[in-house]
């Protein structure tokens, strides 16, 4: 692997540019599918840093996708929370 391919895109799940790029190239899929296949953006932070990059990789590979077309899909919780918090246990 050269340095560019070994470049870490998703720090939480330690997914590299090489992995995300190769998967996108093979499947020519949506951002969501790319996330599910590589786990980029599915770690502790919820993709706060890497979601933009995952989207950009899709844009660069899948024909006719523009930055504006990729829907802004977010799911709660948008911040890391404990199960206790979600269960409304605030002790």
């Amino acid at each position: 692997m050269n340095n560019k391919e070994a470049l870490v895109i998703c720090r939480c799940e330690e997914v590299t540019y090489g992995q995300v790029f190769a998967t996108a190239k093979e499947h020519k899929c949506t951002s969501r599918e790319l996330k599910l296949r590589t786990r980029a953006g599915m770690g502790f932070c919820g993709g706060r840093t890497c979601r933009v990059m995952v989207d950009r990789i899709i844009e660069s590979i899948v024909p006719n996708t523009e930055e504006g077309d990729i829907p802004l899909k977010y799911q709660p919780p948008i911040r890391p929370v404990t199960f206790g918090t979600v269960g409304e246990n605030h002790e």
């Binding site: 560019k4 470049l7 930055e67 709660p76 948008i78 911040r79």
Partner: protein, 412 residues
Amino acid sequence: MIDVIVIGAGPAGLAGAISCAENGLKVTVIDEFVRPGGRLLGQLHQEPSGEWWNGIKESEHLHNEAQKQSIDIRCGVSVYNLEKDEDAWNVHTNIGTLTAPYVLVATGAAEFPIPVPGWTLPGVMSVGAAQVMTNVHRVEVGKKGIIIGANILAFAILNELQLAGINVERIVLPEKSPLSKNAGEPEVVMKSLLNAAHLAPSPILRFGSSFMKNEGFRKLGMKFFPKSGVKVNGTPLQLRKAALEILGKDQVEGVLTADIDVNGNVIKGTEKVYEADFVCIAGGLYPLAELTAVAGCPFKYVPELGGHVPHHSEKMETPLEGLFVAGNITGIESGKIAMAQGTTAGISIAKHAGKGSTDINEKLEQAMKNVHTVRQNAAIQFNPEVANGRRKIYELWDVFYGKEQDTLQEIG
């Protein structure tokens, strides 16, 4: 009972909270940072008029005003979900769920990351992180730095680092790639910098402002752009050099660079290593709109505003009943504009809640006008086409919601 929950204690959120309270509403403000002020806290620059814009002072001023109005401000609290049941919004936070009929989302902006090989080394940070460490926490980020990425935010923060006595050796571009997009293309970067001449008092950029608006001149200008760069407050801005990799064993030790052509392609054989003990990556800003997205607000992609923004009116309403927005979530602009938008949102909320005196409509018009005035006089403008972007979103609002509501009223 809380009437309004404001998410974000930046200039937009605080100004919004103050104007809600002035009009008789009971307000709670939530922010995940340890103190109120948002991105204002890091800002320090001189306006063209010579006056200094000191963000910490501005924040303190807003905070005092808010306290006078008995506004409840809770810092260190994160909102992780926002949803509505029949008639009230539920704001889910790490200290429990708060409920109110009105919510103002003023969550500001976030930085675009530009990954560069080696960017996980200690000593690499976003340029915004360097700003917060320097101006808010007063921690020296390093002794010898390199900024990767040339944009207005990078220039503003370069000045702040210099004021703090921190040495920034050079500004280079990221290598052109699908991830850096046009942040790696010298000509595009040059074009985007033309309206930043006053922040980068250098002859070439000032010369640029008048001449380089012409594409032919710009190409020529880039072709003959000095290899050693032009000085921005003493720091060379090297638009014809790209960072290929950040080097170091346990922490940053340097940056491997190469010369690039006018289009950003690397010229082989020109590789060179520059020493550094910290690196700032400047990728630019986009509106941080996650909460309005989970709330179900529709979006529009408007490049002039920095990315996806929630549909909203000039009165800062969203299509969702009781949900309002203000500040950088509606488009990337400077702190003063965020404040003016916050005031508008506050008055707008008061109006919806049936509060305020008989002149509330007048006040609202006045506040909207003030946003324009502040924009026209802004010292920092992140996108030269921002006014166009604003127009697009308000037109969209009229098409989707304004007229529709009018006709509904006529029929109903």
